[in-house]
């Protein structure tokens, strides 16, 4: 196992007799953002859960050398019986950080991410969906993860909130240099955020193409993203993976 690196090699996975992942090879280096795109049901979430250690692989090796991985799920998954502040500070509590210190850190980060002091005192079900997502992102950031796993974390949000959270993610990455492994079915999101895009096709899930983006994150403005996405979507590999008619 190499420190500061996630390496998946020769991974096969099945649920019962159904093969869901076949021969996956994947490496995420420190500081790198890797996006996995693919149609719904192609095994992306399974792959991420395997990488997170939430599932045990059927065959193959997963070596996670990152010390503090954090995961953000498709739903905020805040604990309904904890006030927002306690939810955000939850990871710190698990690490054994003292109450005052963890509350101070969680408050500082939450305020930076657009939550108000009033929100922090509420229970999650009294928050709007957008505020819940912010809280979930803050909960992942507060532990200063060196690997951030994102499971379609932004897919249910409106475009304004999305771009705001993208900016927060970029700022956090710039500050702490965390690596990111994200799965999404939104090509634009992958192109905006990732250094490397892996395309997955379904039944059984396998990686069919890889695409690197050299343009630095800061230079990817909206026009660039639109242009690049339009180009990307014309690729034959992408079209077959998503079942689009090939011209």
């Amino acid at each position: 196992m190499t420190a500061g690196q996630l390496r998946i090699s020769g991974l096969n996975h099945r649920f019962g007799y159904q093969r869901v992942l076949e021969n996956i090879e994947l490496t995420v280096k420190a500081n790198e953002a890797v996006a996995i795109v693919g149609p719904s049901g192609c095994g992306k979430t399974t792959l991420l859960n395997l990488a997170a250690g939430l599932l045990t692989p059927w065959e193959g090796r997963i070596a996670n050398g990152f010390a503090r991985p954090a995961m953000m799920f498709q739903q905020p998954r805040l604990l309904p019986w904890k006030r927002t502040l306690d939810n955000i500070a939850f990871g710190l509590k698990a690490q054994g950080v003292a109450t005052e210190q963890r509350n101070a850190e969680a408050t500082r980060l939450a305020l930076k991410m657009g939550l108000t002091g009033e929100d922090l005192d509420k229970f999650p079900n009294a928050l709007s969906g957008g505020m819940q997502s912010r809280a979930a992102l803050a909960r992942a950031f507060v532990v200063q993860p060196d690997l951030l796993l994102l499971d379609e974390a932004f897919s249910a949000l409106d475009i304004g909130l999305k771009s705001e959270l993208y900016a927060l993610l970029a700022a956090e990455r710039a500050e702490h240099g965390s690596a990111v492994l994200m799965i999404t079915h939104d090509l634009m999101e992958a192109i905006r955020l990732a250094d490397r895009i892996l395309v997955m096709a379904g039944t059984p899930g396998r990686i069919v193409a890889e695409h690197s983006i050299a343009t630095p994150l800061a230079e990817r403005d909206e026009a660039w993203v639109f242009h690049h996405t339009a180009k990307f979507i014309r690729w034959p590999d992408i079209r077959t993976a998503f079942g689009l008619p090939t011209p």
């Binding site: 859960n49 997170a52 250690g53 939430l54 991985p69 954090a70 995961m71 799920f73 739903q75 998954r77 604990l79 309904p80 019986w81 904890k82 939850f90 990871g91 509590k93 698990a94 509420k122 229970f123 079900n125 009294a126 532990v143």
Partner: protein, 265 residues
């Protein structure tokens, strides 16, 4: 000291608010009393004394110093059995809920325990423990246990798998998993079970006392029955139900609302 007075104040206000919101129940209680009085007037005091007669008999029993100690004895037995089953039932139920195998194995045993009539346990307890505290406490314990066990087990089994993943992702210690993830969820299954078991314990303890002991409300009921003293019997019943209501509404309900405050928001 400061937090303690704060806690008492909080308890007083929340209980006060709760009772104040209870005018509707008070009205239905008054209606019940009215029907009781009407029926009593129709049948005469030998069959059914009026509520006022029952209450004044109870007051007389209190003044004579008879009611207080008997109520305390009964309450002690009921609460001992109840407390025992809360401790054992909640713990074992939690443990059984965590493991699928354990909960499958527990199911038939629980069915047997629920199906077994308390009177049968009482007979066995009489043989095992004889007359004294042991018999009513054991009978209460064994009758309440399956209710609480099932509540705790169901609560544990129904915890959202997504939250379990969150707990695993953050690398929670077993203790934190228990106190921050499992218990807050399980409590909303446990409280109804505890309240049901508390009601049960009060009924069982009187039955056990009536048949096995020389003191307590049950024994007092046996004496008043043999004297054909309907007013005293009614007075003891009122005392019994009154204590149960007091414990449920002054202790368990405020506690439940405090613990479950996140639900109402």
């Amino acid at each position: 000291m400061k937090w303690r007075s704060g806690l008492i104040q909080e308890w007083a206000t929340s209980t006060g608010n709760y009772l104040w919101s209870g005018w509707g129940s008070l009205a239905s209680l008054c209606l019940f009393m009215a029907i009781w009085t009407l029926t009593a007037q129709g049948f005469g005091p030998l069959i059914l004394p009026t509520p006022l007669e029952a209450l004044s008999t109870l007051a007389r029993l209190f003044q004579a110093g008879e009611a207080g100690p008997e109520i305390l004895i009964t309450a002690r037995r009921a609460l001992a059995g109840f407390g025992l089953s809360v401790a054992v039932g909640s713990l074992l139920g939690l443990a059984a809920g965590v493991s699928l195998t354990a909960s499958m194995m527990a199911r038939p045993i629980i069915t047997v325990l629920v199906g077994m009539p308390p009177i049968a346990w009482l007979i066995l307890a009489l043989l095992w423990f004889g007359a004294g505290d042991g018999t009513p406490i054991f009978t209460v314990f064994i009758a309440c246990f399956p209710i609480i066990f099932v509540g705790a087990m169901q609560g544990t089994r129904t915890l959202d798998g997504q939250l379990k993943e969150v707990a695993q992702m953050f690398g929670l210690s077993t203790w934190m998993k228990l106190t921050d993830v499992y218990l807050p969820h399980v409590v909303s299954y446990l409280f109804p079970a505890w309240i049901a078991a508390l009601g049960m314990s009060w009924k069982i303890v009187v039955m056990a006392e009536l048949l096995s002991t020389e003191d307590g409300i049950g024994a007092a009921l046996a004496v008043s029955r043999s004297h054909l003293d309907t007013a005293a019997s009614m007075a003891w019943i009122v005392a019994l139900v009154g204590t149960l209501l007091a414990i449920e509404y002054l202790l368990l309900e405020p506690l439940k609302r405090k613990v479950e405050s996140w639900r109402t928001l």
